[in-house]
């Protein structure tokens, strides 16, 4: 990135003996929507807290807008924060909550009033301005928190699992709302979540965290289609991991022998030495059933389970001791357990991941 807006440079954070974030380098562009995704305890909140100024890095530097900010107190960082459980002030009304940042900046009363009105309209809460947070539903509280974090036009908005407490339908609605605000207001958003589909649908880029380190960072499609490690492949979506030995390598295509003896063709950018052991990731929806692909890999397998999922079927098939999950649409001719099926996938759908 040639002109990052936020830059974390070799940032580490330890609590006593426990190192939570280790040598983190991360650049975030202006107007970018970046998601921090990872399992519980991987240090996502800690990174956000360091950006917001509630925690100090043990070592390393944080830059924002060309200034070093890691010794700046939180109230001078001008970053909007949306907390996981909203952190609305219970003794203030909705409009007082939203007006709080402007009051702290000693803006004239008339301007505060006008901007609060606009902000509440933006999140469609104009009619609830005089309610207390305790009189609002979860989604409404969420939107108040959002309006409050945006009203002072911060350069960066940090969100820590802001949708975690909402039910599925509301969560999807709010995802769209936030994405819409991001586009309209050209916000820079750092969004922490451990919901992978949320990260995939909302972000410009996703950083996958594992034990305080970035495992992979990139566009959602890159992460999904080309996971670089086994952890990422398993964490994002669902995948089949298959181990094999490289037989030969021609151009960008490797011939890999599976334990049972079948050979598959794998497209890969890295040069794999002969006889090296590799781990392959094959997405379940890329495997076709009952069709031979002349240009691809073909395997015969026996159906060992069929699970109905409404919009799709999930087959579990076994082929020479290797169990594969296949997602298939329902237009398939009826299958039953024990049937022998033909499975095929392209060499480009077969991806080498680091263990």
């Amino acid at each position: 990135m040639n002109n990052p807006f936020i830059r974390l440079e070799e940032v580490s954070k330890s609590f006593g003996l426990l190192t939570v974030v280790e040598g983190l380098n991360l650049e975030i562009g202006k107007g970018e929507f970046i998601s921090l995704l990872g399992p519980s305890g991987s240090g996502k909140t800690t990174i956000l807290m360091m950006l917001a100024g509630f925690e100090n890095p043990t070592s390393g530097a944080i830059w924002a807008g060309g200034k070093r900010i890691d010794s700046l107190p939180p109230h001078r960082r001008n970053m909007g924060v949306v907390f996981q459980n909203y952190a609305l002030f219970p003794h203030m009304t909705v409009s007082q909550n939203v007006a709080f940042p402007l009051k702290m900046r000693s803006l004239p009363r008339a301007e505060v009033k006008e901007r609060v009105g606009k902000a509440l309209d933006m999140v469609q809460l104009g009619s609830l301005a005089e309610r207390r947070p305790s009189q609002l539903s979860g989604g409404q509280q969420q939107r108040v928190a959002l309006a409050r974090a945006l009203i002072f036009e911060p350069e960066v908005v940090l969100m820590d699992e802001p949708l975690g407490a909402l039910d599925k339908q509301l969560r999807e609605q709010m995802q769209l709302d936030i994405r819409d605000l991001h586009r309209r207001l050209k916000l820079t958003i750092v969004f922490v979540t451990h919901d992978q589909s949320e990260a995939l649908t909302m972000s410009d880029r996703i950083a996958i965290f594992n034990r305080g380190k970035i495992e992979q960072i990139g566009k959602p499609s890159d992460i999904y289609d080309h996971p670089s490690t086994q952890f990422v492949a398993e964490f994002i979506g669902e995948t089949n991991l298959v181990w094999g030995t490289v037989k030969s390598m021609e151009g960008g295509t490797a011939r890999v022998q599976l334990p049972a003896g079948q050979q598959v063709l794998v497209e890969t950018a890295t040069d794999l030495g002969p006889n090296s052991k590799v781990c392959l990731s094959i997405r379940p929806e890329r495997i076709k059933v009952g069709r031979r692909e002349a240009a691809g890999n073909n395997i015969t397998a026996a159906v060992s389970d069929i699970v109905y999922h409404g919009d799709h079927l999930r087959l579990i098939a076994r082929s020479d001791g290797q169990s594969l999950i296949i997602k298939t649409d329902r237009s398939q001719p009826t299958l039953s357990i024990g049937d022998e099926v033909q499975l095929s996938f392209l060499s480009s759908d077969c991806w080498v991941v680091r263990p």
């Binding site: 107190p73 109230h75 001008n78 952190a87 003794h91 009304t93 940042p101 702290m104 974090a149």
Partner: protein, 393 residues
């Protein structure tokens, strides 16, 4: 009502019965007795027993009977105590003026002559039926407002109207005021010390929190005498505080800290601090942890975040703590008695004086009643305020 429910109610009644009984016998009954003694007025009934008996059959409109007059004269002859007679005259005079001169005249005549006396001949006022009505009411009634009035430095003058007592005889109002001022001072001191302390205690956890709370609870666990001895050691002229102050050159002569107001305030603040810290603490730990970070992220300087978020939310604890401390402080007796001088005694010691020293249960009861009323009014205000806060949108 079906049987299981009934038996359940019987069981719960049985469970609360001991407490109920205890409260009735050792709290409600003494309280009622106290209040009764504050308003009971047996002086006329006590000094005029025969009259009381004979007026019971009088219809209060016909002229006084001969037996009534004879009984009255007989009662007057029985009164040997001048003080008591004075009380009786005051009592009668407060109902109808004129008794002040009439009564000594009549008593003198009764003592000077044996046998029956024609009262109307002695003084024609005895022919006026309204005097007999006053005697009849006083002799057969046992209630007075004298003690209650005296408790707030008021009395009935000769005409029966309420007036304040002469300045040299009035002390109760001043002591009551002093009591309120001292209780208020202690409450203020407790808030000033207790709020920051509760904030610290709520912000740490584990053994640190236990230690802090233990330190504030300590005065409740130590015996009063041990505590008092400790204050003596600390506060006396050659005590710890004064010797440190003098050695460090802050003062050249010891600051009097004991047997005066300052000592009482210090000691009472110490004892009552837990009742301030604990309610504030329990309110503060109920406040979500992320509100202060949220305020900071929204641009609030820590001081403004405190004033705008933590303080208003913690105020409920401050109010209930203040109420507890203030009400307990109002009734303090032993600490001022041990640590204070004569000018630092609170209303409780006056009550104690009347109750045990002067055996004037009427005054003791009346002062207690006034204190109780003042406390209840404050409590009602508190309830009103707190319920308003909860229902306001």
């Amino acid at each position: 009502m079906n049987a299981p429910r009934l038996s359940k109610q019987v069981i719960s009644l049985a469970l609360v019965a001991p407490l109920l009984l205890f409260l009735i016998v050792f709290f409600a009954l003494p309280l009622v007795t106290m209040m009764k003694s504050a308003v009971s007025d047996p002086v006329a009934a006590r000094t005029l027993p025969a009259t009381a008996r004979s007026v019971s059959s009088w219809n209060r409109t016909s002229p006084p009977t001969v037996e009534m007059q004879a009984a009255f004269v007989a009662d007057l002859r029985q009164i040997s105590d001048d003080q008591l007679f004075g009380d009786l005259v005051r009592r009668l005079n407060s109902a109808k003026s004129g008794f002040r001169t009439l009564m000594p005249k009549t008593r003198k005549a009764a003592l000077d002559t044996a046998g029956s006396i024609d009262l109307v001949a002695l003084d024609k006022r005895w022919g006026d039926i309204s005097y007999w009505q006053a005697v009849s009411v006083a002799a057969s009634s046992k209630i007075t407002d004298r003690n209650l009035l005296a408790a707030v430095d008021l009395q009935r003058d000769a005409s029966g109207a309420i007036a304040s007592v002469p300045a040299d005889a009035s002390a109760n109002k001043a002591i009551m005021l002093r009591t309120f001022v001292m209780a208020l001072t202690v409450t203020g001191a407790c808030v000033l010390i207790g709020f920051p302390f509760a904030m610290i205690a709520a912000s740490v956890d584990g053994w640190k929190r236990q230690l802090l709370l233990g330190a504030v609870l300590l005065p409740l666990w130590t015996s009063l005498l041990v505590r008092t001895a400790a204050w003596f050691i600390l506060l006396q002229d050659r005590g710890l505080i004064n010797s440190v102050l003098m050695q460090s050159g802050v003062t050249s002569s010891p600051i009097p800290l004991i047997f005066n107001r300052a000592g009482v305030i210090i000691a009472m603040t110490h004892v009552l601090l837990p009742f301030m810290v604990l309610p504030i603490f329990s309110v503060l730990i109920g406040i979500p942890k992320n509100l202060m970070p949220a305020a900071a992220s929204l641009g609030a300087h820590p001081v403004r975040a405190f004033l705008n978020v933590l303080l208003p939310l913690g105020l409920r604890g401050v109010v209930s703590g203040s109420l507890l401390v203030f009400m307990s402080a109002l009734g303090y007796y032993i600490t001022p008695a041990l640590i204070g001088g004569a000018k630092d005694q609170m209303i409780s010691s006056v009550i104690a004086y009347y109750a045990t020293g002067a055996a004037n249960w009427g005054m003791a009861g009346a002062l207690g009643l006034v204190l109780l009323a003042a406390t209840m009014i404050l409590y009602a205000i508190y309830l009103r305020l707190s319920s308003e806060r909860e229902t306001s949108p």
